[in-house]
Symmetry: C2
Subunit: 387 residues, 2 copies
């Protein structure tokens, strides 16, 4: 039975506690576990999750049963713990379902089991100017899946990493990115070249300083990860600056809750337009998840459109926006480093704001390449490496 | 002045009504328009939106001013309507700003102006089985920007279109897609081949019927547009079926408000896993926008993980889910068509659910190619074509 459930989603579900008793109730089965926990499973839920080969196609591991094809009041004719310790149900319509106790415990939805799973969710580790920068070696990432996993966990949980020892041939970045996934293309290309250009279509392609920002706030889904790979850096200036946007939002929430609320509630438009494209996105600077945690920062002053709040909200929005920008300039939050050839930044673009000091293009060449990968691809690669 | 603001965002702002009077208040300038409207503009807003070449870099059309670098209480020394009809402001710190009246009116944020803009937002046109299918010709789309625009507006507002006369060489779809933008890659590739395969990594690549679904509900951002291009269709069966998910959600809201609420509130996990990837996304089946309109449907029964709602919510969720699936099967909503070689479907994957009847692979060959483009790229192309 363990193999039957394991092929269904490439995971194994160790036996945490054995099933000791089953009680039949009107709309559910109540099971007892050896460690004392008690978990209800509604009849509909059990029938819906039947792992048998009639209900799940083994080649694709995808469900072919649709629960609407089963009577809404279907109930077990009998339910019991079988000789292998599985929950075995004979349904009134003749179907038979067997549930591995490891799988069942991993999907139990009693309050205690749900709280346990919530507590195991990965947590962001907030940082400030004192961050011990997580540094990884190119060769190890390319060869060793465990080294790759450690890097990706740091990207996920800290949101700022550096990789060293990367070849400085143009295009090498794509090899690093492909250890995770395909690259997310944008109107700036698959790999983009960050160089000062006469016909710049973004301030990124000038020698100006760039204030702290996220990339592509003009898209509904900002890119999850951003890579910046240094090929040549002989110009004076151009240091990279980072802040943890989640740490700033967290401090703002404590120090100025009214400003925090304004940035969560009042949407702001970001715009990026050139001869061939015209991107616009209206969204708040700070996005919260379903449980009220800071989940995303969206910010690039140079891509912002005119505020379009109500007359009453406008002073509130300007006060909050000024406050947030002022905080990104506070030394307590800022980490400043010069990137050398063969080094690359990989950071969470929806959390970690990045900036660049102005540089002097007359003092020497400067050539970075960049690309994006989405958070879905990062999390998928982590899950595969953790199998 | 018109040219100065036009280069800033590639749009022109016709003069709707002339400025007739300016009144200086403590924190704002109140302007009067010839048609009687009165619009306040806060000092911070005006200074922030100064279009002069010190504040906006003309090559990139991006702002270099950061409002936090201006005193929070900066006020005009004087404000007036100049000889060209512009609002002209001499700031106390010596800076000068001039605002074109067409641009200013287009960005006014008095209640009436905001309501006017909200009313002009594109509206989804709901449809059911009686839809007069919008059909477009390949050759026209490839050659005529106005024909291209008409197609894209139908995709945006109706969410289901067909294109005819497309070459049946594999890869032709990419040429059509590129009239809009680059293609969004996924773990299934850039162009994916929909054929029955022995080693299928999705039920899509079998000959099974597929129930009504959206593609990639396992991603934080479901692909905005889906294309399905028929190269060969000699097999019996395999008809395409579509429903307007927004129309079903709208009917559900009226006919069973409790079920509608459950599908908006209780998140559901979708999963797609194979040897190389493991995608998971937890989100509600129905997403609403900031003003409570149905904005997105997320649904694929064969990619759904076990429900993980609370014990109290579980029966509520099953009742609502069953009801939604049952509605997708009602003839009043369903449009069924067989796609012929040289035809393609292009539809809003976050709104229009699609399905396929089972086909008999022994009866003849069947080969479709598909790809995705995101909504951002669709909307950008529409804005560029409308310039």
């Amino acid at each position: 039975m363990n193999t039957a459930t394991a092929f269904a989603d490439f995971r194994s579900y160790p036996l945490i506690s054995a099933l000791t008793a089953v009680q039949a109730l009107a709309d559910r089965v109540q099971v007892q576990w050896a460690d004392g926990r008690s978990s209800p499973f509604h009849h509909q839920w059990l029938r819906d999750n039947c792992p048998c080969s009639h209900c799940v196609y083994s080649v694709t591991r995808e469900q072919v049963l649709e629960i609407v094809d089963v009577a809404e009041d279907l109930a077990p004719a009998s339910s019991r713990i079988d000789a292998q310790g599985c929950l075995s149900i004979d349904w009134q319509d003749g179907h038979l379902s067997r549930f591995d106790p490891g799988w069942l415990r991993a999907h139990a939805y009693d309050d205690e089991s749900r709280a346990e799973r919530r507590a195991r969710r990965p947590q962001s580790q907030l940082w400030d100017s004192r961050l011990q920068l997580p540094v990884f070696e190119y060769q190890a990432l390319m060869e060793d899946p465990q080294a790759l996993l450690q890097w990706l966990l740091a990207v996920r949980d800290i949101g700022l990493t550096q990789v060293r020892g990367v070849p400085t041939e143009p295009g090498s970045l794509a090899q690093v990115a492909k250890r995770i996934s395909f690259i997310r293309e944008s109107n700036f290309g698959v790999l983009f070249n960050v160089q000062s250009k006469a016909d710049a279509d973004s301030n990124a392609y000038t020698a100006f300083n760039l204030p702290l920002h996220t990339d592509l706030p003009t898209r509904e889904l900002q890119p999850g990860l951003q890579f910046l790979h240094c090929l040549v850096n002989d110009a004076e200036g151009g240091e990279s600056i980072f802040v943890d946007g989640f740490a700033i939002a967290d401090a703002l929430r404590r120090e100025d809750p009214e400003a925090f609320r304004a940035l969560c509630e009042i949407p702001v438009e970001f715009r990026n337009k050139d001869r061939h494209s015209d991107y616009r996105c209206l969204a708040p600077v700070i996005a919260l998840n379903a449980v009220g945690e800071v989940a995303e920062i969206r910010m690039a002053n140079f891509l912002r459109g005119p505020f379009e709040a109500s007359v009453d909200d406008m002073p509130r929005l300007y006060r909050a926006y000024r406050r947030f920008i002022a905080m990104t300039r506070e030394p307590r939050f800022r980490l400043t480093r010069r990137l050398n050839p063969g080094e690359l930044w990989c950071f969470d673009n929806r959390r970690t704001l990045h900036a660049r000091n102005a540089f002097d293009p007359a003092s020497g060449a400067r050539h970075f390449q960049g690309c994006y990968i989405d958070r879905d691809e990062l999390l998928s690669r982590i899950l595969v490496l953790q199998r």
